[in-house]
Amino acid sequence: MTVKLTHEGVTASGSELYCLNMGPQHPSTHGVLRVVLELDGETVVRAIPVLGYLHRGIEKLAESRTYPQFIPFTDRLDYVSSMCNNLAYCQTVEKLMTVEVPERAEYIRVIMAELNRIASHMLFIGATALDLGGMTGMMYTFRDRERILDLFNLASGSRLTYSYVRIGGVMNDISPEFVNLLRAFLADLPGMLQEYDDLINGNEIFQARLRDVSIVPASRLVSLGVTGPVLRAAGIAYDLRRKKPYGIYDRFQFDIPAGTVGDNWERYLMRVLEISESAKIIAQALEGLPEGPVMAKIPKVIKPPVGEVYHANESPRGELGFHIVSDGSTKPYRLHIRRPTFYNLGSIDALCRGVKIADVAAVLAVLDPCMGEADA
């Protein structure tokens, strides 16, 4: 976009404003996000997000693909939490077709989605530390995240693009080996989190860089359409797993962490706390995992009835929703994706105003954007 400066000329303090371009090739923009910063000395006066560098037209492509053919495209939305995307899409189609999913598949889906949330948050913790100059932290979180990716590899055959959740159930059953490795991972998780605490969260410099930076009132974030951990850090404990339980989420006991100040530190802390809550859910799901089929009896050719449906999941980044309009054929007439990162990025200007230029990287890091999703 053509960027028009709004505060041209000289400020009250007598200094001249200037413009600094950040991205789209920048290590702390987590992909191809570009932000144009308008600065008064070192203070950000305005931040203009520029999107679209990764736009592939997934919504249009959906119109020429059958319903099952679209599943791999969802992998490529938020590519660090593909399981959650698969799940949200498949549940939407199932809602349209009114399919009953077998119990065992429901439990496996919960295990996979929560594991992916942990993997995504681990990446977040490492990347945030990296963006603030702590190279070491990343090594530990990536080492541990790899164990989850190994589990996914075992179940689906892929490390990142799973297409594991299918319409009517899951691709195939999990093996006893998977369950054993998962139990071992859950047993090791508290030790991992302790390590992050010692290395990253407990670091005084790390905390000082995040505390009391970029405080935005909750009402403003609500108006901006921000969802997920960033909204919860501002004190609004809104989580779709609790508010509109999808699948079998109403059967599990877990807490929704919420902040009080809503600064960068609490936005960061939300993810750390959510890892333990996800682990609680996985442990309960493993406990209750029933025997049985993992795939419902669904027709070979999927032709949902004429209609319209919207279904949203709580992805690691916020409300991920699919809006499908069906004309009764094998392909969606219109498929729209409500991407949490897209709306979260709309808040960049509000989050960055008044912060120092060195903290812009921190603001972007704790927003945890995934450009594959924002640009679709």
């Binding site: 020429s64 729209h336 897209f342 709309g346």
Partner: protein, 141 residues
């Protein structure tokens, strides 16, 4: 406004009444829709249908608001002064459908390049070029 439709979770409105009704939906505490969760459009063939997905944190309630605009003159009032999330949502719909949101402070391309795509990809009148001249993205129906 039709209270029964609001209770049922779906409301259809005329484009010229949209701004007024939306303002009431947010400001009247009986409704209290403080969030615009999502905004999109559907090409219905004869019209463009705009879909606004509202949510009330106060009452924990959802509402779907629809408004139809013509294909020839796709213009509707912007709701960005009511909910800031529409600033992004409307720019996306503008890129994809060419719908003009009057009153939007900066209706510049967002996902499209600076000069725009040169076409409106999510309109049904636009077909994917596809391989070897096929018009359905090489994936024939």
């Amino acid at each position: 406004m039709n209270l029964e439709m609001i209770a049922a979770g779906s409301l259809e409105t005329k484009p010229e009444a949209l701004l007024n009704e939306m303002r009431q939906l947010r400001d009247n505490p009986v409704f209290g829709f403080d969030r615009l969760i999502d905004l999109t459009a559907v090409d219905r063939g004869e019209t463009f249908e705009l879909v606004y997905r509202l949510n009330s944190l106060l009452h924990d309630r959802d509402l779907l608001v629809r408004a139809k605009v013509s294909l020839e003159q796709p213009t509707i009032a912007s709701v960005s002064e009511i909910w800031e999330s529409a600033l992004f949502g409307e720019r996306e719909v503008h890129d994809m459908f060419g719908i003009v949101f009057e009153g939007h402070p900066e209706l510049e391309p967002l996902l499209a390049p600076e000069e725009g795509f040169g076409f409106f990809p999510l309109r049904k009148s636009y077909t994917l070029p596809g391989r070897s001249g096929q018009t359905d993205g090489g994936n024939g129906r």
